[in-house]
């Protein structure tokens, strides 16, 4: 087990820069998740840590060792790929043993480690099967087994669950989490499923276009997003962004509708951010024209218009509403975020616990 330090890392493909100075400190035993939109460089970063891609600038350290020029197998890292990448011509047992066979580990030791991994992942019954004889979830477990037997310092996962159906994904999510709690191996995990990120991570790294937007615990990102990008990325349905202005301490939408405003807001153009779950029905609230109602079970997502701007509210209780009706809503003021309209950065407010 080891810490991983990513220091000013840059990456270019020929002339084309895709990573512009990334810094992350990952502690020993930590479970860190990289999220971000498609093409932002998550896989590239993971592959650089693995040693599958060259590093154009900066340093990557595993423990105290700079590994920039160390070949992949000497980094003692195991990687799980999205499409599992199991060797089709080898049985499950051979797949798991392959790395150990290559470095001439003693036969008894290989058998012992494979047996242990198979036990951890309940793969005992499948050891002599070929990958094509397994279900998606079982293949995924074999891929993890292959990583476990090597007893690496770091696990890397690149969207390991995105080929599974929704139910299996939830189950495997729990299994990976349990695995981490059991083995306590430093883990870097890429996903673009933000539920996975929120539920599994010790810390989340939000990336965008080859840069880091914010690093924090799931709740830090949820409660105090650094900017509009992070605020919009975390949470589903996403945070409402309403354009308008602060005048005399009050937020007025572009249509001139006043909304509850945290104290201490400076005058100027801002974006008002409020999560759907922090909008509540209130007879004295602002009127919303309901356009679509989507019950999800635990809550009902109500889509509508506030003046001319779209808004979503997630209702847990209250009377049922239907499309075409008017709904009066108010924002829980302690949950309101204000963002600088020009820079997108979150502005400090007078609300305790919301320090910048």
């Amino acid at each position: 087990m080891a810490s991983v330090t990513i220091r000013d890392v840059e990456k270019s493909y020929s002339e084309h820069a895709v990573m512009h100075g990334v810094n992350i400190d990952i502690e020993d035993g930590e479970f860190v998740i990289l999220v971000g939109p498609s093409g932002c460089g998550k896989s590239t970063l993971l592959r650089m840590i693995a040693g599958l891609e060259d590093i154009t600038g900066g340093d990557i350290l595993i423990g105290d060792t700079v590994v920039n020029d160390i070949e992949p197998k000497a980094r003692n890292i195991a990687m799980v790929f999205q499409n599992y990448a199991l060797y089709p011509h080898m049985t499950v047992r051979e797949n798991m043993a392959f790395a150990l066979t290559l470095n001439r580990t003693d036969k008894a030791e290989i058998a012992r480690r494979v047996a242990r991994a198979a036990e951890i992942l309940s793969l005992g019954a499948f050891l002599d099967r070929y990958p094509k004889q397994l279900s998606g979830g079982q293949r995924q477990r074999v891929a993890m087994g292959r990583a476990i037997v090597r007893d690496p310092q770091v696990f890397l996962f690149d969207e390991p669950l995105s080929n599974l159906d929704a139910k299996l994904r939830v189950q495997m999510r729990t299994e990976i989490k349990e695995l981490h709690q059991r083995l306590k191996t430093t883990t870097i995990y890429v996903t673009h499923d933000q539920i996975e990120a929120m539920t599994m991570a010790d810390r989340i790294v939000v990336m965008n276009d080859g840069r880091i937007e914010q690093i924090g615990t799931p709740l830090q990102l949820y409660d105090t997003p650094a900017n509009l990008f992070v605020a919009g990325f975390i949470g589903s349905p996403g945070m409402n962004f309403i354009e308008g202005e602060i005048e005399n301490g009050w937020f007025l939408t572009a249509d001139g509708i006043a909304l509850p405003t945290p104290p201490g807001a400076a005058a100027g153009k801002v974006v008002y951010g409020i999560r759907p779950e922090h909008l509540v029905p209130d007879p004295a609230g602002v009127p919303v024209d309901v356009t679509v109602v989507e019950p999800t079970g635990p809550e009902t997502d109500v889509f509508g218009k506030l003046g001319r701007q779209p808004i979503v509210a997630a209702m847990r209780e209250g009377p049922p509403v239907a499309a075409g009706e008017k709904l009066r809503l108010t924002a829980r003021v302690e949950r309101v975020h204000l963002f600088d309209a020009a820079t997108g950065r979150r502005l400090p407010t007078g609300i305790p616990g919301q320090a910048a």
Partner: protein
Amino acid sequence: MKQVPLFIVLLLFCVMNLTPVAWGFLTSIRQPVDAFAVPPKLIFEPTFRFHWEIWVDKGFWRFLINTAIVSIFAVTISVSIGSMAAYALSRLRSRAASGLLFSLLAMRMFPHILLAIPFFVIAQAVNLIDSYPAMIIAIVALNQPFTIWLMRSFLAEVPSELYDSAVMDGCTPWQTFRRVALPIVKPGLWVTVLFSLLLAYNEFLLALVLTRTNTKTLPVAIAEYGAEDITYWSLSAAAAIGIMLPILIFMLFMQRHLVRGMAAGAVKG
């Protein structure tokens, strides 16, 4: 029931393909005069005399051995080089790589006769006429573009994550090729071996130009019997039936691999 029309088509196809073989076989076990009788004689005394005569008395077994030596070496060399080259080309995504591939294809388009002449001149210059190496090298040269293209098409189907995975597992580049890439495309490898074997085994023009008495191969030897005198026809038919057998046996042994390879699904997760 939907299969019936397909079945009929395939049946016709088989009949079409097997007729010459059957005819050849029948010719090889009859007296030449009977073979050409009009109307065809359906009842005759079958004899394997001609088979014996051509293979033993006329010493055709030597040409079979020559053909076998040339084929085995040519196939082994061109498939090994072809697999390695194809592997490299399937992993290099550079312009140079695709340029190389297309120049190979262009080489393949030359008529053999165009190549046979320079091969002859070269072989003569280095004093290799009527030697195994001359034939082997020439066939390898002729066959190489094909093995590279065919192997590359199989290797192109291997997902690159498997190679990444191999690297993470600690494979050297050679091990990635030998222990991951090659076993995965094994059915394709057998298809390549078969086609290369057919080419080497049947090669006529180059053999005609490059061999004399010592290394003469079967196709050339058979061609020398035939046309001029009707009495030779039974002999050349016996030789032609004989030349088919080794390939037939090879196909029977390889059938399982070949069907899988030709069905292209060489790689499936």
